[in-house]
Amino acid sequence: MTLDNVYLTIALSPLLGAIIAGFFGGMLGRKVTHTITIFGVLVSTVFSMYVFNIHVLEGGDIFNNNIYTWMQVGGLNLSVGFLVDNLTSVMLVVVSFVSLMVHIYTIGYMDKDEGYTKFFSYISLFTFAMFMLVMSNNFMQLFFGWEAVGLVSYLLIGFWHHKESAVEANLKAFLVNRVGDFGFLLGISLILMYFGSLDYIEVFSNLGAVEGVTILDGSLVITVICILLFVGAMGKSAQVPLHVWLPGSMEGPTPISALIHAATMVTAGIFMVSRMSPMFELSDVALTVVMVIGAITALFMGLLGIVQNDIKRVVAYSTLSQLGYMTVALGVSAYSVAIFHLMTHAFFKALLFLAAGSVIVAMHHEQDIRNMGGLYKKMPITYITSLVGTLALIGFPGFAGFYSKDMIIEAVHFSSLPYSDLVYYAVVAGVFITAFYSLRMFFIVFHGKSRVDSHTAGHIKESATSITFPLIALAIPSVIIGYITIEPMLFTGWLDNSITVSSRHSSMAELSYIFDSAASMIPHALLTVPFWMMVLGIATAWLFSLHKTEWADAIKNRFHRTYYVLDSLYGFDRFNEIVFVNGVKKLGLLLWKVSDMVIIDKIVVNGSAKFVGFIGSIIRPIQTGYVYHYAFFMIFSLLIILTWTLFSGNNPQLNVEF
């Protein structure tokens, strides 16, 4: 099998599954449907690993080829094509593996749902779109993949469309992403304008052409392009202030929260910026913007996690915060670290979501952690895997998240960009916060006194195998993946053929200077600030949520203003509601009254109808029915035409004598 067929198979087998499940799911029944879709994703996973082996482990050449010419407009060639290099291979493995786990998990989680086959169709479709996105070799296909994953995401957020909150969240996600997409599309348009091509390689090889070229009031073109592209990434990867949709997306079923809103789609922005590293490297301004936005997201979204009581929302805010970490890594030119964190995060965050889902199933769809407690005895597998996920998330030495987060913090430390020292404090503080809210939730859910109501308490039991198997399968990489891959991924060149780092940005070089081995990082951690921040976070969480629970309320009352600010999510939603929703409503009302009712209805529509009717009523009486009127009219017209012919400019012969 040639390589392009392998890539095609990876992309198309989930699509085939989605089509079969979508159109014939009802006919085939649940069992056949989930077997087919899971098999489709399994095929992708196996081939992804094969591709990973060829490209990353055996050092195969970069594959860049157009598969199909979609259309040609003028000199512009729009194609469907694949660019597969090591970055793509890593993404393929992550996406396909997590997707496979989520597919299996869905069997148990959606068991009683009416939309069972539809759900499988959607997640397979999503997997296809995500593959097309990461394998794209041009901006157009990237954008289409971008929109397609977005579309499936909206469909899935609103999957339980009888829930009003789900429909609202769905709408919010759609609208916020429009803002991001608008920036993204503008960026792509600028690329087309300045480079005349949408092919990655062509654009990257012509970057010299725009060096020093300015636009508008003297901003560098490349800076404008990068910031616009990053606006797209902000929408999809939920960076402040376009983050408001992600917590809302938790209204969707848990498997998609894990797959789409934690592991894969929301990291598309991170992937995209890494892919565009040759462009971002040219603009320190853009990189600084990326870094600062990332730091704000990492710190302030983490803080919100502390006051949440919905189990999924806590994980959602932690996702926002971790995405902020990745974005910070992008900003300091540590793209490979960002991808490294993307990968480890995909595993442990999917794990955390699925574990949360397992708890939710056991609790009969209760999501408030205040009504849980002491679950560890009844759900041992969920408990242990949750613990693994939590430790990985907070960066406990040895776990996957430890390596990636530590590297990000160190990379920021070495960065020479403006504000990088402030950002450093933010990401270090973030470690404390992460540890605090993660353990708080963990303690409240699994330890302490049971606050479960007596009716539910009797029914709580460990979830079915289809749910626990993915938990275990994800827990393994959550422990070991960081230890195994840190060295090849960051320092010995796995991603070298995909990522460009300018020599001006020295973070990565300095990192490799201090890096010794993965094993030696663990003892070394005991001497670092982040480690003690984490320990402090764990201790604080233990203190407030297990040991002295009344202190938490006392503090809440003492600092009620701070609590209010956090509880109202910094007022982003209020702001949007007041300014955008109400503002637009008022504007709409105004426009409707003025333009619709007065201009369009009265003047244009009714007016033109009346006008046309008026003209018609003038002309109609001419149609008298009398033949001599008609004849007269004909002759009269003839005379007019003859006169006109005689005197029109076409006749210079007027002065001819007869």
């Binding site: 046309v612 004849a631 004909m634 003839l638 035409i641 003859l642 012969q653 007869f658």
Partner: protein
């Protein structure tokens, strides 16, 4: 002219379709005399057979090298043959729609069929006419047959009135046409198209001659514009459409347009092509007037036949716009438009005639209320036709308008194109009104409408062609473009 009045037997073969049709007319006329009313059906089938053979003969002549016979007065080229095929073909379709109607309205007489065949013969002569006199003769054969056809419902006063109006006004138009021919003849010394063309192309032509030629041109254009029904020579159209028996309205509103277009091509493009600068302004004025008056006045109509009359006027405006461009592809677009128009109009009248099959004329627009419930299939065909006439893609009517507008724009008349589009939008209103009546209003009568199998079959084919050709328009487009 060396071969003056030399008849060769080979040259008769070139005119074989016309000769065959003429013989058939005579035979059918005689046979019909001896048929008792029991066997009158035979006349219909003989007519269809004659038309079909004529069409096949014409079809076989497609690809025949261009030949001019009968001392330069009769031409056979691809345009002539293709047009003849379309003329006989659409006449046959019209006859299928007609037969049942004639029976119901007791108009089923042998003369009817003979007159239709005569009209077809006239049109064929027009299509092949290569001298002014041949063209005029064809036109008169056609017109006289049509006058008589309208008056065939002689006990309906409205029909007789329409026939008389058409006859009187047609006579005036013929007079103007003849006057124009005489002017052209007087100045160029010939009635042959090729001679006139040579004369008009001669660069040494003096300005006095040009002016007279120009005046002659005005008369010629007006004569043809009357036949086409272009504003301001359109007054007869609504009255005749309404007054004539529906079967005749269908016939006279469709097929003769092809012949009139051919006549336009022969006289203005082949003959006076070098005078394009002079006649294109005139055409521009006539077509804009037609499009605007046709679109606006149609809004006020309550009778569907009158409405379609104004709709035809507006379509004629579009056809004439194709000539304004002065390029071959523009004429091609006009040919495409006229063929599409015939296709759509036949289907529209097909539905109307089915509704009229009950022995009285159901020709009010309000008669279409709730048609979709009583006869969903006929309503669907009507829906397709109306959408197509309004120019909604993917129906064929969209492409015909589109190709005309495209030519107009590329010839630089952007304002004209915009005006045409605005009126096309206005005209969409009354097409949609019919759809609204059919689909969203309740019928005030409860009767199912039945039609014989052959009508249903042909109507279905006709309706689906509007969609199918709309999906694959390039075939017909290529044919139209290749004729000039």
């Amino acid at each position: 002219m060396t071969n003056n009045f030399s008849f060769e037997i080979n040259s008769l073969l070139v005119a074989l379709p016309e000769i065959f049709l003429l013989s058939s007319i005579v035979i059918v006329l005689i046979i019909d005399l001896f048929l008792t009313s029991k066997f009158r059906q035979a006349t219909y089938y003989l007519t269809q057979l004659s038309l079909m053979v004529t069409g096949i003969l014409s079809f076989n002549l497609i690809g025949h090298p261009e030949t001019v016979i009968f001392s330069n007065s009769f031409i056979l080229d691809n345009m002539a043959s293709v047009f003849k095929v379309f003329i006989t073909g659409s006449s046959m379709v019209a006859m299928v729609y007609t037969r049942h109607y004639l029976l119901q309205h007791s108009l089923y007489r042998g003369e009817y069929f003979v007159l239709v065949m005569l009209a077809v013969l006239g049109m064929m002569v027009m299509v092949s006419g290569y001298s002014m006199l041949t063209l005029y003769m064809g036109l008169e054969i056609l017109s006289l047959s049509l006058y008589t056809l309208i008056a065939i419902a002689r006990n309906r006063s409205i029909a007789v009135e329409a026939a008389l109006k058409y006859f009187v006004l047609g006579a005036i138009a013929s007079g103007l046409l003849l006057y124009g021919i005489s002017m052209v003849y007087g100045i160029s010394g010939s009635i042959n198209i090729s001679d006139i063309s040579a004369f008009a192309h001669d660069p040494s032509i003096n300005s006095r001659d040009t002016l007279i030629l120009n005046f002659g041109l005005v008369f010629l254009v007006i004569g043809i514009a009357f036949k086409l029904g272009a504003v301001p020579f359109h007054m007869w159209v609504p009255d005749v459409y309404e007054g004539a028996p529906t079967s005749v309205t269908m016939f006279l509103s469709t097929v003769p347009k092809i012949a009139a277009l051919a006549m336009l091509v022969r006289i203005l493009v082949d003959g006076l092509g070098s005078m394009h600068d002079y006649w294109s302004d005139l055409f521009l004025a006539l077509s804009l007037l037609s499009i605007s008056v046709g679109s606006v006045v149609a809004l006020m109509q309550t009778n569907i036949k009158r409405m379609l009359a104004y709709s035809t006027i507006s379509h004629v405006g579009f056809i004439m716009l194709g000539f304004v461009t002065g390029v071959v592809s523009g004429y091609g677009a006009a040919i495409f438009y006229v063929l599409v128009y015939v296709l759509m109009s036949l289907a529209a009248f097909g539905v109307i005639i089915i509704l009229n099959n009950k022995g009285y004329e159901a020709d009010q627009i309000s008669d279409y209320k709730g048609l979709s419930k009583n006869s969903p299939w006929f309503a669907l065909v009507m829906l397709i036709v109306m959408l197509s006439m309004a120019g909604v893609p993917p129906f064929i009517g969209f492409y015909s308008k589109f190709s005309i507008l495209q030519e107009v724009v590329s010839a630089g008349f952007i304002t004209v194109a915009i005006i045409a589009v605005v009126f096309a939008v206005i005209s969409a209103y009354y097409y949609l009104k019919i759809i609204k009546f059919m689909y969203f209003d309740e019928s005030d009568k409860d009767e199912t409408i039945s039609a014989p199998m052959d009508i249903k079959l042909i109507l279905s084919i006709n309706g689906s062609l509007i969609l199918v050709v709309g999906l694959f328009p390039d075939r017909l487009m290529n044919i139209s473009m290749s004729l000039l």
